[in-house]
């Protein structure tokens, strides 16, 4: 009733193509952005910025990066963390070795280097498919962390490859406070999500899905498979690389190569499984889930009488719960939280009627 679409007709293709075709959705988006950019900085506290919101935003972006490759283009990858690491270390080196390079440019260059590395490990996708491709992305995962640890040039000769954040500053505005880091992360993430949404709705996005669904038919349609796949690797690598730089510099502050190990890759894969493969919104939902779930679980366990569960067991329980949830989602809702949200919206559009 409040969510009516009556009277809203598209009279031109451009209107029909809009991301948010309904007026109330557009107003909703504006309101959400206002809250995120203005409301939250006023209301939030440092704990929320540093421990919840920033990691949530960065993981959403990383999820988007992997989702473009796996959810849209259908190329399975277990090397996301490696591309994040490349992005973080490349950004660090640009800042270090090109004095005066603006922060955003350094991050874009870092993302660009990650894109190149992703293309390199994506090259075998021309000849191999499916599970075989896991080998290539796992090779990236192990090789990159090894190389970053082994060659200390990457970390400016620091012990065990640890790197620290450069000064976060844009046009003279100091962004090193929690709220500053939050706003920086938010801006980058919003911009890249806009780009990502445009991409998946464009020709390239359709070609990705075509390759995912039936690559022989895609080739017969005249879609250049190799180019389409490599672009998926490159763009995914870019998004992951920027996410890695944000992870290192706006979230953690200091990071070592092993902060980007295989478990991080799994975490990002879990975000897109839970959030929804092939969905843009799903990345936010999945990331929110991954960030909030451990917090909720430990709060919940704290309610139990002390001594019932040892603190060391929490990690094991969390692991089991995550694993079980993955299976539950794959069985019950393979399209993830995004699909649940969509179902809810369809109900809302018809409310109070049922059909």
């Amino acid at each position: 009733m409040f969510y009516q679409e009556s009277g809203q007709f598209s009279t031109r293709y451009a209107q029909d193509r809009r991301v948010f075709r309904l007026r109330q959705d557009r107003y909703g988006l504006v309101a959400l952005l206002l809250v995120a950019f203005v409301g939250v900085p006023y209301l939030g506290n440092d704990y929320w910025f540093s421990a919840i919101l920033i990691p949530f935003l960065v993981l959403s972006l990383a999820g988007l990066g992997l989702n473009l490759l796996t959810g849209y283009a259908g190329q399975l990858s277990l090397g996301s963390a490696a591309f994040m690491a490349v992005g973080a270390f490349a950004t660090y080196n640009v800042e270090l070795r090109v004095p005066g390079s603006p922060l955003l440019l350094s991050m874009a260059l870092g993302g660009g280097v990650a894109a190149l590395v992703a293309v390199l490990f994506g090259l075998p996708s021309l000849r191999i498919k499916g599970f075989y491709l896991l080998v290539s992305t796992l090779a990236a995962q192990f090789f990159v962390t090894w190389a970053l640890t082994r060659f200390s040039w990457f970390s400016n000769n620091s012990a065990s490859g640890v790197i620290s954040a450069p000064r976060l500053e844009i046009l003279g505005v100091d962004l090193n406070s929690p709220v500053g880091r939050y706003l920086l992360t938010l801006s980058v993430v919003v911009a890249l999500f806009w780009l990502g949404k445009n991409l998946v709705r464009s020709e390239l996005g359709r070609n990705w899905m075509a390759v995912r669904d039936m690559d022989t038919a895609a080739a017969v349609m005249g879609i250049a498979l190799f180019k389409t796949k490599l672009l998926a690797f490159a763009i995914s690598g870019f998004f992951l690389g920027v996410a890695g730089a944000l992870w290192a510099f706006t979230y953690l502050g200091t990071v070592e190569p092993h902060g980007f190990d295989l478990n991080r890759s799994f975490q990002i894969l879990f975000i897109i499984i839970i959030g929804g493969l092939g969905s843009i919104l799903g990345n936010f939902l999945g990331a929110a889930f991954i960030v909030l779930f451990p917090v909720l679980l430990s709060n919940l366990l704290a309610l139990l009488p002390t001594g019932l569960i040892e603190t060391g067991q929490i990690e094991n329980l969390q692991k089991m719960a995550f694993g079980a949830l993955i299976i539950v989602f794959l069985v019950k809702e393979p399209e993830g939280l995004a699909r649940l949200w969509q179902k809810f919206r369809e109900r809302a559009r018809l409310w109070p009627l049922r059909y």
């Binding site: 031109r12 293709y13 070609n207 022989t216 017969v220």
Partner: protein
């Protein structure tokens, strides 16, 4: 087989001595025939006669080990699917090969990939040629959707459509590429009489109104004799008949191998 077509026809597609085998098993042996521009040509023959393999050779999904293909006056020894698409060959598949996770409209739009001029960067940033082109692509796709009467399902995921409609969407996708040659692999398989009639009409319309040359594989002899200008008969990977429908149906070898008894 006497080739009894009018002496001066322009051939869009010419196959010469095509041979194809898989691990030593011959699928197609020494096949030659020509398809005139603007005709509807049927490939018929029992199961396993090599019809689909031949179609796969024509648009480069399989590479023939022997022989040559001439398309639109150009000769190709090796052609990949992408090259075939660029030269104007589109097709449908025996087992529907739609992109199941995409809507009908998006499926049809993928057919127009090669008509796109703007780069992916322009499209991602919504600058330059991208916006105007989106409108034109959409208009073209909508024309085809109208032509094949699938407007009501425009936004439906193709995986959710019934079989007959999926076949039609696949035809729409192939047609969206504005092909010169349309290859249809059993476009009417599994349809009832009414659906077959409708599909036949679409094929004839495409041929007449758009001037598209069609090569199709079909088992229903009634349909073949009804709509085709030219029939090629295969058996065990060899050509045993080639000519206008009436002539082919008189051919004793064809009758023996395929039609079984005289009607």
């Amino acid at each position: 087989m006497a080739h009894t077509q009018a002496t001066k026809v322009e051939h869009l597609l010419v196959l010469e001595n095509i041979g194809l085998s898989f691990k030593g098993v011959k699928a197609v042996t020494d096949i030659s025939f020509a398809v005139a521009a603007g005709e509807i040509c049927a490939l018929i023959g029992p199961n396993g006669a090599g019809k689909s393999s031949l179609l796969n050779v024509i648009n480069g999904v399989y590479q023939a080990q022997q022989g040559r293909i001439r398309f639109a006056g150009e000769e190709h020894r090796r052609m990949r699917p992408h090259d075939a698409a660029v030269r104007g060959i589109a097709r449908t598949f025996q087992n529907i090969a739609l992109f199941k996770g995409m809507s009908v409209l998006d499926n049809v739009l993928t057919g127009r990939t090669l008509k796109r001029r703007s780069s992916w960067i322009e499209q991602a940033l919504r600058i330059g040629r991208a916006a105007g082109e989106d409108d034109r692509q959409r208009e073209a796709a909508e024309r085809i959707i109208d032509f094949l009467h699938i407007q009501p399902w425009r936004d439906t995921l193709v995986g959710k459509l019934p079989y007959g409609l999926q076949k039609r969407v696949e035809l729409a996708r192939a047609l969206a590429a504005e092909p010169r040659l349309l290859l249809l692999d059993e476009p009417m398989a599994g349809m009832n009489a009414e659906e077959k009639l409708q599909m036949s009409r679409f094929i004839v319309d495409i041929n007449r109104e758009l001037g598209t040359t069609v090569v199709l594989i079909e088992h229903d002899i009634g349909v073949v004799m009804g709509i085709c200008d030219h029939v090629v008969v295969l058996d065990y990977g060899r050509k045993i008949g080639d000519g206008p429908p009436d002539e082919v149906r008189q051919n004793p070898e064809v009758i023996a191998a395929y039609l079984g008894t005289r009607h």
